[in-house]
Symmetry: C2
Subunit: 216 residues, 2 copies
């Protein structure tokens, strides 16, 4: 498959590399086609990796991964051109974190609203699936924990798209919990904060934890 990644941070780089490791072709998009981080990432990741603009990556991907800062989603998607996502599966990994008062962050969007819902509204003809937002980039691919595998929570309005993302998550090494429609992003983005607050309960913060749902 062809995967477009929007964003050049740790999440974009980690997921891009993971998709390449599984045999997919990946284009990492950023605001500038000559973005140093994206070019360096593509060079280091090999011939199946390339770099371009947000628009290039959105056009390239059968699946597009949104890995921008949550508070920059709207500007990135607008730059990419919302029409380019028509019919595509969009994996929204973002959290609308507000660092204006320092760490730990709070949520800039919450209550009866969420980043996931806003992405779906901006891309009405895309099939948005929230995923990868309740763990840090260190453990997104092949998570290896005692008592694992951990579980990834997903939500979205399109059953077929969720099935496809669940398959990807299984390939990545995750269990999958389906939390319903895209409006459940409200709960999954809040859950990110539980993950973040646990990180900050140690000094220095530690990022080596992931959720699991135990079942009988």
């Amino acid at each position: 498959m062809k995967i477009g990644i929007l964003g050049t941070g740790d999440v974009g780089k980690t997921l891009g590399k993971a998709f390449v490791a599984l045999g997919h072709e990946v284009k990492m998009g950023s605001r500038d086609a000559k973005n140093d981080k994206a070019l360096a990432w593509a060079k280091e990741t090999g011939p199946k990796a390339s770099a371009g603009t947000f628009a290039d990556a959105a056009a390239f991907g059968d699946i597009v991964v949104l890995a921008t800062l949550g508070i920059a989603n709207e500007s990135a998607l607008t730059m990419a051109g919302c029409d380019r996502f028509r019919g595509k599966v969009v994996i929204d990994t973002t959290n609308p974190l507000d660092f204006s008062k320092g760490v730990p962050p709070t949520l800039a969007v919450s209550g009866h609203d969420s980043a996931g819902e806003r992405v779906q509204i901006l891309l009405p003809e895309a099939r948005v699936v929230k995923a990868f937002n309740t763990v840090g980039s260190l453990h997104m691919f092949r998570p290896d924990f005692p008592g694992g595998p951990p579980d990834m929570f997903i939500c979205g309005n399109d059953a077929e798209a969720k099935k496809q993302v669940a398959g990807i998550l299984k390939d990545f090494g995750w269990g999958v919990i389906d939390s319903g429609g895209i409006e459940s992003s409200r709960y999954l983005e809040a859950m990110c904060l539980v993950w973040v607050l646990h990180a900050f309960s140690s000094t220095p913060p530690t990022w080596n934890h992931a959720f699991k749902v135990l079942m009988k």
Copy 2:
């Protein structure tokens, strides 16, 4: 210790019985001193169990457990008399669930607000600790899951009170994750919905699951 329980539902009955099993004395309070459910619960639970009004239970407890419907917290606490909680540890188990549109429910209070914060505001001199709100009553005491023990998330502003509640949780069979101050109730109450939505992903709903945080 003496434990007051406000509420006669499954959570109140389960936790009350658990405290008695661990050797504590428990008074279950309700709107009416002659509440049939509370009297039956006390009779069946034995000599360390008793029933009374909300005010009786609040006055009785060294620790008071709030186990009313989340949307009834204010009325229950007002009936109990907010002064009666002065200096006490209050374990807030509630979620502000809104069933007005059927099941699964949504949150009647969310965003920059939560049931836990409202309880702390109503009881400014109590030491409120959120706990027991991310699992159902079936598994609150001696949770027995493959891969367990599961973890309970707690939050509150008073470190000593959280330490005491963490000790109770360990006696009950839980791992404990401290999610910070009482404002983190926003995230823990949202997490309850992730638990609930997983229940409703099966038909009929199943309640045999609990969260754990895997760590390296």
